[in-house]
């Protein structure tokens, strides 16, 4: 109804009448929040507790948050809130929020308050002094330009802008030890996804699950990690979709599932291999899709072999790295891989897969995994059905898969989805479940230990990348295939745009000479060793909790005492900072704690796990005057410049010449999104509409090429007003180039660009775009434009093969340990409120095993492995598949289970442990 003056009067009269007669019944539809809470201002925002980032409205009054409620039109959750979202008032209202900066000098007893700017000055002094001591222009003959004695660890709740500025600050100062907590949880999956698709990101948006016909959840429990994912799952099931959960424990998700495959822990990979064999040998694959969009027709070097133990050619002994020389395609004279589009030759990738998976017969798989043949065949049949046209299957995987099968688990899932032709279409795709909200956004800024924003690698010292042209040539892969137009072709543009932002007055070549060099392959246990050995003298933490590091905690604690300083940026004290501030910590270490605004009072951008930009404005709450990390670091950088100018120092050019002129968080966001030299702020938004297709040339200034032109300056710090429910391309703030479904060109026929079937996302596009789609390979992050079934970049083998050997018998009082509820446990450690939901870590044990071992529910037990031990309460259940297994729910298992192999290959999983009853109850 159109609102006219007359209508308005009518309505107003009616409302008054109803109010007078019917009393307060009028609020039936007016109110969304309790009456007694409503005398407050409200603002739109989003939830910072998982990758879904549900839209919500925050109500506040007198600098206190009174309530949160879901936005009714929220497409993430459909107007619902999960338990975690109700923690938001607690974030800003709690008393322990830090408002004052404190410092504890070495050899002094207590913390002293300092003004904010003095504190930043102290930070600058410390960083400057350590950098002066250990900055090296050469390291063992190789150009280095780096300082390896300061480590930076970024937590998983910082915003995109903050992560961007942290990366800028660190690289400009020559720091190379920059890690993120997102790396801990994400690295194995990211390795696998990069090796297959060229980029690590979730392919489809969450609400797209409702278009699936089969939903497989493996190694994850969405009910706990992101409950609102169930909204889309429930919608899909109403349409008749099947929910299959693969989990050794009857989890909450498994309870409501149609089929629960209770496999033995650690046998995920074998099950997946069995399913792949079923697909290949029953010809339930999408051959047209394979020919056009994957490397299935590529011919592989003829000397590539797989031996009977599952080792690939180039094997040089247990525990050593492969020689990957034979893992290559045969190249024709133009530099493109040779192909066999009939998929018949014995050395084409398709036949190699078929041969190597033939050993995973249903019998063997059932023997190893312990599931019944009916169930296996049922699931395999359903999966095969999803390879048919207009059918799709979505895979949701979590930490459980990477924990038990390493990166190869995610590889197996990717291969399966490619065989069924489920990538790039509606209702298909892979969903990595993110426990932390901005995991994708932080990874985009800090993709690894050696990355600039936007996954651009630092110059490699071992590859002798001292020449600018060599560096560009090494990183911008050009294909000679006319049909391939991939994003890395524009590497030079991305790099130069970034450097224009950082050093506006310099020539790119001159800048290149100032940048730090690094060699790849740093990891968390090396970090621990370096701290222990005293190589790393200072540690800078941004909302990070080092206790989340996958290393033994006691060793970490003893190593930390050798540091000479720690700078912590944090909102409120967590377990780690209580330990650092406590009496048991070394008195020889200078500790600086810089306060940060809590999530509700900060203005920021996040990137949700579906690669969507979301923003919120800060509320004027208690900490309004505090700047965020971005501006604080700018302060530190300016003080460092002053120090360099005053005292002089080694290699001061990059620091002195770097531009620091951010006036607010908004200006950082603007720099990330990019703008041209001539552009004024007003014209950015208009121009960005036309530029989305033209991706290889970001604007002159662009901090992160992935975000180029996605956020116009008008829409900075605003949430989308009209959420998109359709999967249209170029309508949304998803990177790259607004694609909501990544690689959506896979949904069209290669020759003419016509949609392949009804699930093709291109169906929704207009004709003009459809024409452009013809003869374009969809996987634009890979050199060949196709997805790799045969992933040469995986160091543990190009094909995911599970081990069929049966586990040895274990002794009487020993058990096999598994478990990965880290996300929940981390939340519970960080936020007191969450303990209502997850009170403490505990050990799950099978009823029969408890009876045999003489354990009673609620006993305290000690769990011992070869490497460590922990004390936990015991809960007896019969929801575990096998009585030989025990599971730790909580972060204690990370120390006991984690091994570095997880990144590339198989971990030593599950671990044999002994469980013993403790005499006393309680800790």
């Amino acid at each position: 109804m159109q609102v006219t003056r007359r209508n308005f009067l009518k309505i107003a009269t009616a409302i008054c009448g109803v109010a007078a007669t019917g009393g307060l019944a009028i609020f039936d539809y007016v109110s969304c929040i309790p009456f007694f809470k409503r005398k407050s201002s409200s603002q739109r925002g989003f939830c910072p507790f998982c990758g879904l980032n549900c839209a919500l409205i925050i109500h506040y009054r007198d600098s206190v948050i009174t309530a949160v409620e879901a936005e009714k039109s929220s497409f993430e959750s459909g107007g619902r809130l999960c338990p975690k979202a109700h923690m938001i008032p607690f974030l800003a209202n709690q008393k322990s929020l830090r408002e004052l900066g404190v410092i504890r000098y070495a050899d002094s007893n207590g913390f002293e308050n300092r003004s904010y700017s003095t504190l930043l000055g102290e930070c600058a002094e410390l960083i400057h002094a350590t950098r002066e001591e250990s900055f090296a222009i050469d390291r063992s003959g190789l150009k280095a330009n780096n300082c390896e004695s300061i480590a930076v660890v970024v937590g998983d709740s910082v915003s995109c802008e903050d992560a961007y500025v942290i990366n800028k600050f660190s690289r400009v100062a020559g720091l190379t030890r920059v890690g993120t907590e997102a790396l801990i949880k994400h690295e194995a999956a990211a390795t696998a996804l990069r090796a297959t698709y060229g980029i690590a990101a979730q392919t489809n948006p969450h609400y797209d699950i409702k278009n699936s016909d089969l939903i497989v959840v493996i190694g994850s429990n969405p009910v706990r990690t992101s409950p609102m994912q169930l909204v889309a799952i429930t919608e899909a099931r109403k349409r008749g979709a099947l929910l299959v959960v693969i989990d050794p424990v009857l989890s909450e998700t498994a309870k409501i599932a149609d089929i629960h495959l209770a496999i033995r822990p650690g046998t995920d990979l074998v099950l997946l291999c069995g399913l792949i064999r079923y697909l290949l040998h029953n010809d339930s694959i999408d051959k047209e899709y394979l020919r056009d969009n994957t490397d299935a027709p590529f011919l592989v070097n003829e000397s590539f072999r797989v031996d009977s133990n599952g080792n690939f050619s180039g094997f040089s002994g247990e525990g050593k790295e492969y020689d990957t020389l034979t893992w290559s395609y045969i190249i024709d004279e133009r530099g493109n891989p040779k192909t066999d589009y009939n998929l018949k030759r014995s050395n084409c990738v398709f036949q190699i897969l078929k041969n190597n998976y033939s050993q995973y017969t249903p019998d063997r798989v059932m023997n190893r995994t312990g599931i019944s043949s009916d169930l296996f065949l049922h699931v395999a049949g359903e999966l095969a059905a999803s390879s048919r046209p207009a059918k799709s299957c979505s895979f949701l995987f979590g930490g459980g898969l990477t924990e038990s099968a390493g990166a190869q688990g995610v590889r197996a899932v990717s291969v399966m989805q490619l065989l069924c032709g489920n990538i790039g279409i509606a209702g298909g795709g892979l969903y990595g479940i993110n426990n932390s909200a901005n995991q994708q956004g932080i990874s985009d800024q800090i993709g690894g230990w050696n990355c600039f924003p936007g996954y651009l690698p630092l110059p490699d010292s071992e590859k002798m990348e001292n020449d600018y042209d060599l560096y560009i040539r090494n990183n911008s892969h050009k294909s000679n295939d006319f049909s391939v137009s991939h994003f890395w072709t524009g590497f030079k543009g991305y790099f130069e745009s970034l450097m224009h932002c950082w050093f506006p007055d310099e020539d790119a070549k001159a800048v290149f000479d100032m940048l730090p060099r690094t060699s790849s392959g740093y990891n968390w246990s090396q970090l621990l060793n370096d701290i222990d050995a005293g190589t790393i003298k200072g540690l800078t933490l941004f909302e990070a909790d080092l206790f989340n590091m996958p290393v033994p905690r006691e060793r970490l604690k003893s190593a930390l005492k050798k540091l000479s300083w720690i700078i912590m940026f944090e909102t409120f004290p967590g377990d780690f900072s209580r330990y650092i501030g406590g009496t048991s910590f070394s008195k020889d270490t200078t500790v600086i704690i810089v306060p940060l605004p809590a999530f509700p009072s900060a203005s920021l951008h996040f990137v949700s796990s579906e690669r969507r930009f979301i923003a919120k404005k800060g509320l004027s709450l208690r900490q309004k005057s505090l700047p965020g990390i971005a501006l604080a670091l700018q302060g530190v950088a300016k003080k460092m410049i002053a120090l360099q100018k005053l005292k002089g120092g080694v290699f001061s050019e990059p620091i002195v010449r770097c531009a620091w002129n951010y006036s607010s968080v908004k200006s950082v966001a603007k720099e990330m999104a990019g703008y041209s030299r001539e552009q004024t702020v007003e014209t950015v938004a208009e121009d960005s509409e036309n530029k989305k297709e033209n991706f290889h040339q970001p604007p002159y200034f662009c901090g992160n090429w992935l975000y180029a032109d996605l956020i116009g300056s008008k829409s900075l710090l605003k949430r989308d007003s009209a959420p998109q429910q359709s999967l249209l391309r170029n309508t949304d703030r998803c990177w790259p180039a607004g694609a909501q479904v990544l690689f959506n060109n896979a949904g069209v026929i290669f020759k003419d660009g016509e949609p392949r079937h009804a699930k093709s996302v291109a169906v929704e596009d207009n004709a003009a775009i459809t024409g452009q789609r013809a003869r374009r390979r969809p996987f634009y992050f890979n050199k060949d434009g196709v997805a790799y079934l045969f992933a040469r970049k995986m160091k543990s083998g190009p094909i995911p093969l599970g081990s069929l050997t049966v586990l040895p018998e274990i002794q009487e009082s020993s058990y096999l340990l598994f478990g990965s509820d880290y996300g929940e446990a981390d939340m519970a450690q960080k936020y007191k409120y969450y303990r209502e939901y997850f009170p403490e870590d505990f050990l799950l044990m099978h009823k029969d095993a408890a009876r045999d071992g003489g354990f009673v529910n609620g006993d305290y037990v000690s769990v011992k492995t070869a490497e460590g031990f922990t004390r936990l309460p015991l809960y007896v259940t019969d929801r575990i598949a096998d009585k030989r297994y025990v599971k730790i729910a909580g972060s204690a298992s990370r120390e006991l289970l984690y091994s570095q192999d997880i990144k590339q290959g198989r971990s030593k999983f599950p671990v044999v442990v002994s469980v013993q009853k403790e005499a006393s109850r309680g800790r």
Binding site: H86, E252, R835, E836, F842, N857, T877, R879
Partner: protein, 260 residues
């Protein structure tokens, strides 16, 4: 009588995410109960009704027929709590059974009378919204003038539904018939119990496992006694307190148990 609209709890759809529990807390400004109460390896449940827990999530730990479901006041049409209240503080409000906090004297008669244990008296010191010596229970979010109860709004799987009663009953009976294949003991409650309850519930396990602890004869005695007592006690607030004390004394004498 049951109201026009009702809640349906479908325990076969409930996954135990606790969204209902937390949204109830948030909506009604109830304080936290300080750590979920966990037994038998279930970490998805909050077991007890308390003055600040108007809705709890209960779970049975049989893996064969593992059932999780939210439990709240059933809003009976013939409610024992309403009958037992000496000061008529509990009443029917368009199908919901609602406490009037200003009238309540905290005697605890309702806590004894309720077969589900869904109403509790706040005995501790006043804390936020909760006042000392007042009985608290679920009010179906009716006093907050919401169109849908908060627990229903926030349920992601459709385990909680709110709709016209007749529609819901049809839906529920159909669902039960479907469920019989997988759960032979599936059944619907709330149609006839206590002359119809405003909260219908689909169970997947038999109700023998439910905890129902009340004694009809005791209730009847108490009711008779209090309808007499309340005539006298209506005159002054001091007498209200006396009535509660008298009730608790009598209860102690009759049953030998103190009221919490």
């Amino acid at each position: 009588m049951a109201g026009e609209k009702s809640i349906l709890i479908d325990s076969s759809r409930c996954c135990g995410c606790n969204s209902c529990y937390f949204s109830c807390k948030s909506w009604n400004s109830l304080p936290l109960s300080g750590g979920a109460n966990k037994t038998d390896g279930d970490r998805s449940t909050v077991e007890d009704f308390r003055p600040q827990n108007w809705l709890v999530v209960r779970s049975s730990s049989d893996s064969e027929s593992w059932s999780i479901s939210p439990e709240l006041c059933h809003h009976c049409s013939d409610a024992y709590c309403v009958k037992s209240c000496p000061v008529k503080a509990i009443s029917y409000q368009s199908g919901w059974v609602v406490t009037d906090y200003d009238t309540c004297i905290g005697c605890g008669a309702c806590t004894m009378a309720c077969p589900y244990g869904a109403v509790k008296v706040h005995r501790a010191d006043s804390r936020g919204f909760l006042q000392k010596g007042i009985a608290y229970k679920c009010d179906g979010c009716s006093v907050n003038y919401s169109s849908t109860p908060a627990c229903v709004t926030n349920c992601p799987t459709g385990a909680l539904q709110y709709d016209y009663r007749m529609k819901l009953i049809q839906k529920a009976l159909k669902r039960v018939a479907d469920l019989k294949k997988r759960y032979p003991e599936a059944h619907l409650t709330g149609l006839t119990e206590h002359r119809g309850e405003n909260v219908l519930k689909i169970h997947t396990v038999s109700s023998d496992k439910q905890k129902i602890s009340f004694d009809n004869s005791l209730i009847r005695t108490v009711n008779g006694l209090f309808s007499t007592v309340s005539i006298f006690t209506r005159t002054g607030s001091a007498a209200y307190g006396f009535s509660g004390k008298l009730y608790r004394l009598l209860h102690f004498v009759v049953t030998g148990k103190k009221i919490s």
